[in-house]
């Protein structure tokens, strides 16, 4: 038997996406509306008659989420799949786990695949913890006998013995997440495919899960594909890496090499851009050269996670030498369709005087990111002593990933607008 468990040859995946044609800012004539309506109706009817997919919008565009991707994975490898938002990582995993079909190319898989694209898939709030363990296990591909054999271990791992026969809707959010993780951590397929699921749940429990998965792969020669934006955990867990960019493989090799490649690609795209932009206003006493994102502890991150803290650092170079002076640093956020969502500015918070160095950064701590997944464009303004020093339209984007905003263990997805709000629900008789 060959040692290659997954081989991917020329894999491509096409999605069809609809666009709304750009409308005139103010109004359009009735005639235009009618013609567009008729054209759209005609296309829908035609598609329906041919049994094709119906796409909302005025024009339909093909979008290749994966393009001519080829690579091989050997038995026992733990492969970290990394790349920026929209690079096609989740699409690749969905194809490998047979959720969706490739458009072109071919994948050969030897062995049983289990995929973990979300923790607690199929959990039902009305059912008890016990029932949900069986349900979730079966959904993830375990047999009843397997679940039964591991049942006690799962319960121990999740530390929920006392609440086994309580409906999970009565669980605290922490318990819910632990139970969901516990089932997932006890999967023992030959090939395990894991998407960003570990970004929810508390750090301690994450470590426990990663440890468990690592044991599984090291001890029993299982193969793991692991997608994450969290480089430390990728580095810790993986033995080799695959970097995707716009649907193609940019790098396949050692994990350190992959991460290095990824980091340098990030630098290239963002760092030089801001520094070298010419379309800026201001007298230049202070120039923004870079914007970077960091997590609570200050580690560099690629994207914000919904529900987590984010530090936005605005790096600059200036003519000043550590003086504390009145500065006005502001950036706003626009959604994809150009709507102004909000503005962050130091003067709103009363922090009107900040120290300005030759080289330094201003940092804005956003304690709980309440944006749904997507990318948000920002315009940046810095004023020094009431004069505009640097003003950059569309200076940077904040990519935001789905996160466990409400602490329920479920990701908040982008289906319902751009913002997520903290909220408390109760019911009462009147």
């Amino acid at each position: 038997m060959s040692d290659t468990v997954i081989s991917v040859e020329g894999l491509s995946k096409r999605y069809l996406v609809g666009h709304q044609a750009a409308r005139g800012e103010r109004y359009e004539t009735l005639r235009e509306t009618v013609t567009r309506g008729v054209r759209r109706f005609g296309r829908t009817a035609l598609d329906m008659a041919r049994g094709r997919q119906i796409i909302q919008g005025d024009t339909v565009e093909e979008f290749w989420a994966l393009k001519d991707l080829s690579f091989e994975i050997k038995r026992g490898e733990v492969v970290g799949v990394i790349g920026r938002n929209g690079a096609g990582k989740s699409t690749l995993l969905k194809i490998l786990s047979r959720i969706t079909e490739p458009t072109k190319g071919r994948v050969t898989i030897r062995g049983r695949v289990a995929s973990l694209l979300e923790v607690g898939t199929g959990f039902h709030p009305e059912l008890t913890g016990r029932e949900n363990i069986y349900l979730n296990g079966a959904i993830l591909g375990m047999t009843r006998a397997e679940i039964k054999a591991k049942f006690d271990e799962i319960v121990d791992f999740a530390e929920v013995e006392k609440f086994l026969d309580t409906p999970v809707k009565r669980y605290s959010s922490g318990m819910y997440v632990r139970l969901a993780f516990a089932v997932a951590a006890h999967l023992e397929p030959e090939i395990l495919v894991v998407d960003e699921v570990l970004s929810v749940g508390d750090a301690e429990f994450q470590r426990k899960c990663l440890g468990k998965m690592k044991d599984v792969s090291a001890g029993q020669g299982r193969t793991v594909l692991f997608v994450s934006h969290n480089m430390p955990s990728v580095q810790q867990l993986c033995t080799s890496g695959l970097m995707l960019s716009h649907g193609t493989a940019l790098y396949r090799g050692s994990i350190d090499g992959t991460i290095a490649q990824y980091m340098s690609s990030l630098d290239q795209t963002s760092r030089q851009e801001l520094r070298s932009r010419k379309d800026r206003e201001g007298d230049g006493r202070l120039r923004v050269v870079d914007v970077s994102f960091h997590d609570e502890r200050g580690n560099h991150v690629e994207a914000a996670i919904c529900g987590q803290p984010l530090r936005v650092r605005i790096h600059y170079e200036s003519r000043y030498d550590g003086q504390e002076m009145p500065v006005d640093v502001a950036f706003n956020l626009r959604s994809n369709n150009g709507i102004l969502l909000t503005c962050f500015a130091n003067i709103q918070t009363g922090a009107e005087r900040l120290a300005v160095h030759r080289k330094g950064y201003f940092e804005c701590l956003w304690p709980k990111v309440n944006l749904r997944s997507g990318s948000y464009m920002s315009t940046l303004f810095v004023g020094v002593e009431e004069q505009t020093a640097d003003w950059l339209q569309n200076a940077f984007q904040i990519p935001v990933e789905e996160g466990n905003f409400f602490g329920t263990g479920r990701l908040v997805t982008r289906d319902h607008g751009d913002l997520v709000m903290d909220q408390v629900w109760t019911g009462a008789p009147t």
């Binding site: 997919q53 079909e101 458009t103 072109k104 190319g105 898989i109 030897r110 062995g111 030959e190």
Partner: protein
């Protein structure tokens, strides 16, 4: 765990060679999902069971009043009218909840479909099982009514399981077909309740199919529920009701046709569900 080393090749448009074997391999998931749906339905036990029993009972009362008292339609033989209505209502209620719930099942389970692989056929079928449990529960009122009317069943009752299976298959075919279409053309959601409402009045639920003029009877039997309802009546009401063979045959043919159509349509569209949903 048994390590079965099998090789899978994923390619565009590759017909699943082992489709049915794969389905068999996922039978446990089917059990678990059907179990979940049933458990959730009857979790608030009182409401769930009362609802399953009350709905056909109230409809039976209303239909008996409208069709027997007001429209003065005849029953089958000397069977009490209410009993005849109930014998038709049971399979019809099953058919309509099965179809209605199945058509929404993929959309309500979109989370599963976009996150895990399994033969998608499992979802609508598991939903139909729930309606099936409702049917079994509502047999309780049938028994109660028969006791009330002191109406003894004949040996015909032994054939009832056969017609129950027939009702199941008759619902499954159109159920799968509509389920598949509903993912792509979400407007079906609004059409289905209307169709079912309409179907209730064109099917022989509130009246006996003998009330249909002889020359129209064959055409009328194109509605597959006619054969199923007649069959239920024949089993339950014994000699008072007669089997009309042409309609039974047409039900069988149409059921097989819809099963073929439903499964074909479903399999054709199944691979794109995750992209569309």
């Amino acid at each position: 765990m048994t390590i079965e080393s099998h090789e899978i090749v994923l390619e565009a448009g590759r017909a699943e060679r082992n489709y049915w074997r794969d389905l068999w391999r996922y039978r446990e998931l089917f059990q678990v999902l059907a179990g979940r749906d049933v458990a959730v339905r009857y979790k608030q036990t009182v409401i769930g069971i009362v609802w399953a029993v009350m709905r056909p009972f109230l409809t039976m009362l209303i239909f008996t009043i409208i069709f027997s008292r007001i429209a003065k339609l005849p029953s089958d033989g000397d069977a009490p009218y209410a009993l005849m209505v109930l014998a038709g209502l049971l399979p019809w209620t099953f058919f309509s909840t099965a179809l209605g719930d199945a058509s929404l099942s993929l959309v309500t389970n979109s989370n599963l479909i976009s996150k895990v692989y399994f033969p998608r056929l499992i979802i609508p079928t598991a939903t139909i099982v729930v309606s099936f449990v409702d049917l079994l529960i509502s047999f309780v009122i049938l028994v109660a009514m028969m006791v009330w009317y002191r109406f003894a069943p004949t040996v015909n009752i032994l054939a009832l399981p056969l017609f129950v299976i027939m009702a199941f298959l008759t619902s499954l075919g159109p159920g799968l077909w509509i389920t598949a279409l509903n993912v792509k053309y979400r407007d079906f959601r609004y059409i289905i309740p209307f169709m079912l409402q309409f179907g209730l009045y064109v099917s022989p639920v509130g009246f006996s199919s003998t009330a249909v003029p002889e020359q129209w009877r064959l055409l009328y039997s194109l509605n597959p529920m006619v054969g199923v309802i007649d069959g239920f009546r024949w089993c339950i009401l014994g000699g008072n009701s007669h089997i009309y063979w042409p309609s039974l045959t047409s039900t069988a043919v149409i059921t097989v046709f819809f099963l073929w159509l439903g499964i074909r349509q479903f399999r054709k569209m199944e691979k794109t569900f995750a992209d569309l949903i």
